[in-house]
Amino acid sequence: MVTGRPPQIVAFGGGGFSMEAGNPLLDDYVLSLAGAERPKVCFVPTASGDADHYVVRFYRTFSTACETSHVSLFRRDRGDGAVEGDLEAHLLTRDVIYVGGGSVVSLLGAWRAHGLDRVLKQAWRRGVILCGLSAGSLCWFQEAVTAFHGAPTVVRGLGLLPHSNCVHYDGEPERREEYRRFVGDGVTPGYAADDGAALHFVGRDLRRVVSSRPHARAFRVEPRGDEVVEQPLAVSYLGDVERDLHAVA
């Protein structure tokens, strides 16, 4: 199947249905890229161990407006909507593949064991829009900063995007310091995003940064001379600025 779309990834620093109940801005932005009246969206909750409550929340959020399904690598024979049979054929015919949060190391380990890393690369090349938050953002990059167990550390991602990535940038001050130190020590330069900010890549290049919160930020982090520079990126807030101002006032 040819979608006519270029390869695209929308990487959330945090946010979407699992972190921002009642704020659909980031999820709606992704759906708008699909250009389909009823987009086919498949949820991949591997990083959470296919947590039941997470899968339920996905269906609650998307099943009215989208054709929904999910991939379970732990409970392949249980649950309505779980893909059975040819996973590859199913994923390659979606409009959006939405990857949930959790542990990026567990995510990549399980995907590689099931050959999903290869399938997702293929889906991306064919124009299936890949998106996700947290671990579901980190996984697409060359290198990713994770602080899941113990101190922050750098892991190799799938490498679809030749950059590094750091998520929840506003959440934990030590992550910010560590990320800059890592980049100074030779980790691939890359992008950091706050909760509520999403990096939209077309091909391998950053096209746009959008946000579901008026003050969410994103940064390009790269070495310049002896220093590591954190360059703020222009962020388009997806909500109604006027209305929000009134709401605050």
Partner: protein
């Protein structure tokens, strides 16, 4: 070396064909047997629910069974626990590591991604008891038969124990022929099959004892000699049947203050 390290014995694995708190909510015999393998005043037991993706129900059942009997914690590889401690620090201070059932394929892949496979081998060499059921039992052997991906298939394990292991011999009888075929063809080495409720105890790589929580169950030893299979049925000891041998010496000998500490901890967990 700490006193705890000094008290540790030979490398020990307790492999259950099925049973324990996830499968036998009303029968603590196998889990008590696991604790009886530890000669520590306040045994530390760590649950790894990785093979099922850390489901809450399984974790809750673990605390329900062990919180009053031991110092019980679990390690999630999917949810952040907020601790800055390394996996090595967490694993190597335990007396028992207890591995739940689920997908062996996912279990091994995720352990390897976290380098927990090497860490568990190190724990075993140090005398930390490794226990588990189903996928959490087969993983210690050279291989077994899994249904991680739907149909039954042969899978390679970590190989701490040289034989193969097949689980749920009575509960899922379709497994046995797949295992026997694999042993006959040499795809898997000879080894053991165990019914639900049956556990095999290994000291070093030697199988020393077979116990069960259910009467009428058995284990099977199978070897391939040429193309022929040689089968040998093993009658397990029924746990709790001999009153002169209480299954829970550790639990019975708990001093009051430790019992109080456990109750406090359990109450805090319940919030």
């Amino acid at each position: 070396m700490s006193i705890r390290d000094a008290l540790r014995g030979a490398p020990t694995i307790f492999a259950m064909g099925g049973g324990g708190f996830t499968m036998e909510p009303d029968n603590p015999a196998l889990d008590d047997f696991v604790l009886s393998l530890v000669d520590q005043p306040e045994p530390r037991i760590l649950f790894l629910p990785t093979a099922s993706g850390d489901p809450t129900a399984q974790i809750t059942a673990f605390y329900g069974r062990f919180a009053r009997r031991a110092s019980a914690t679990h390690l999630s590889l999917f949810r952040r626990h907020g601790s800055a401690r390394s996996l090595a620090d967490i694993v190597l201070e335990q007396d028992v590591v207890y591995v739940g059932g689920g997908s062996m394929h996912n279990l091994l892949a995720i352990w390897r991604a976290h380098e927990l496979d090497d860490l568990l081998a190190e724990a075993w060499r140090r005398g930390i008891v490794l226990a588990g059921l189903s996928a959490g039992a087969m993983c210690w052997f050279a291989g077994g038969v899994t249904r991680s991906g739907g149909p039954l298939e042969v899978i390679e394990g970590l190989g701490l124990l040289p034989g193969s292991f097949s689980v749920h011999a009575d509960g899922e009888p379709e497994r046995l022929p797949v295992w026997l075929t694999a042993v006959r063809s040499g795809e898997l080495p000879g080894g053991w099959a165990a019914d639900d409720g049956v556990g095999l105890l290994f000291r070093g790589t030697r199988m020393v004892r077979v116990v069960t929580s259910r009467p009428g169950t058995a284990a099977l030893r199978v070897d391939a000699i040429g193309e022929e299979l040689v089968r040998h049925r093993i009658e397990p000891e029924l746990l709790g049947a001999d009153p002169s041998r209480p299954p829970t010496p550790a639990a019975l000998a708990v001093p009051d203050e430790i019992r109080e500490l456990r109750e406090l901890r359990a109450a805090m967990r319940r919030g």
